[in-house]
């Protein structure tokens, strides 16, 4: 079957990026797995989806973002409140050998969890996917100016939260 090698290729090229985006948004490994599977099932059901797409990664992240929004809507307010405390349960970052680095990642995880989902998505796409504001705007279906302002607000909050630790680490270096 021709579709299955294509699905394997898509998984190998994009699953890590989708996983990072989804785990950063959901902070729950089980939800992340379900959503990742949902995306690949969608691709399997409709292989034409990617036919006219110029940037596969952006399109797949758009699917992931829509899946996260659907999940949040399904879960409702109760789960959204739980999400704010989920940072304690799981960090989206890989563990570090250096204790200072490990502390920084843990604090960064908490700081990201404290951002509103809209800002968190934009910050993630800018910092870890390297997308431009135009591309982020396209992926999240928002105006580029909105993407830029959400990024600025989000980054300011992260800096504010991480400033003491960041400056201490800089001095130590």
């Amino acid at each position: 079957m021709r579709r299955e090698p294509e699905l394997r290729r898509l998984y190998d090229e994009h699953a890590q990026a989708l996983y990072a985006f989804l785990i950063n948004c959901t902070r729950d490994e089980s939800d992340t797995r379900d959503l990742l599977q949902e995306i690949f099932v969608k691709l399997a059901r409709d292989p034409e989806l990617l036919n006219a797409i110029r940037n596969e990664r952006s399109f797949l992240i758009r699917l992931a973002h829509n899946a996260v929004i659907d999940l949040i809507r399904r879960r409702g307010t109760r789960e959204r409140t739980r999400e704010n405390f989920a940072a304690e349960a799981i960090s989206p970052f890989a563990p570090a050998h250096d204790p200072d680095e490990q502390t920084f990642r843990a604090e960064l995880s908490r700081a990201l969890a404290g951002l509103p989902p809209d800002q968190r998505a934009v910050v993630h796409l800018k910092l870890w996917e390297g997308l431009t504001f135009e591309q982020i705007a396209d992926v999240l279906d928002i105006p580029p100016n909105t993407a830029a302002s959400r990024y600025r607000y989000g980054l300011d909050k992260l800096r504010e939260y991480l400033r003491p630790l960041y400056e201490e680490m800089k001095r130590a270096e």
Binding site: R8, Q16, I23, N24, Q37, A44, P92, R105, L127, R159
Partner: protein, 145 residues
């Protein structure tokens, strides 16, 4: 200030995310592969060329028999269509029998009665007049015997 922000951004963007659990790959691709096969089969059935090829594969083993069966059905339908009564149905008016017919019927009844003779009541049809006797009399008879 901008340089400081850029440094901060650089520091954040260098933080690696956790890797996708390795076992997910096969699990997710297996589910997606199943969906893909199901979808593929559904689409093949819908395509007209595929429908024709499936029909031909069903009919192929005995094409003459299937053709004969089809011819028989066509013949039956044609005969049924040609013998169908297309005249409009008109309700027939009910006419009471004429006096001659009534007289004839009465004569036949009389003749039949003469041939059979008077109707006798059979023994089996006669109602039984034996009523149960009072218990005291029966007891008396039993004691006598």
């Amino acid at each position: 200030m901008n340089e400081e922000i850029e440094q901060f951004e650089g520091r954040l963007s260098r933080q690696p995310f956790r890797p996708v659990p390795a076992e997910w790959r096969e699990e997710i691709l297996a589910v997606a592969g199943r969906e893909s096969r199901v979808e593929g089969r559904a689409q093949k059935w819908i395509q007209p060329s595929s429908l024709v090829s499936r029909l031909s594969s069903v009919l192929w083993p005995h094409p003459v028999a299937w053709a004969g069966l089809a011819a028989v059905w066509i013949f039956i339908i044609a005969v049924d269509f040609s013998t169908r009564d297309h005249a409009p149905v008109v309700a027939k008016e009910f006419l009471p029998p004429s006096p001659q017919v009534i007289v004839e019927l009465r004569q036949q009844q009389r003749l039949l009665a003469e041939l059979i003779g008077p109707r006798e009541v059979r023994e089996a049809d006669r109602s039984k007049s034996l009523m149960p006797r009072p218990r005291s009399e029966r007891n008396f008879e039993m004691s006598m015997t």
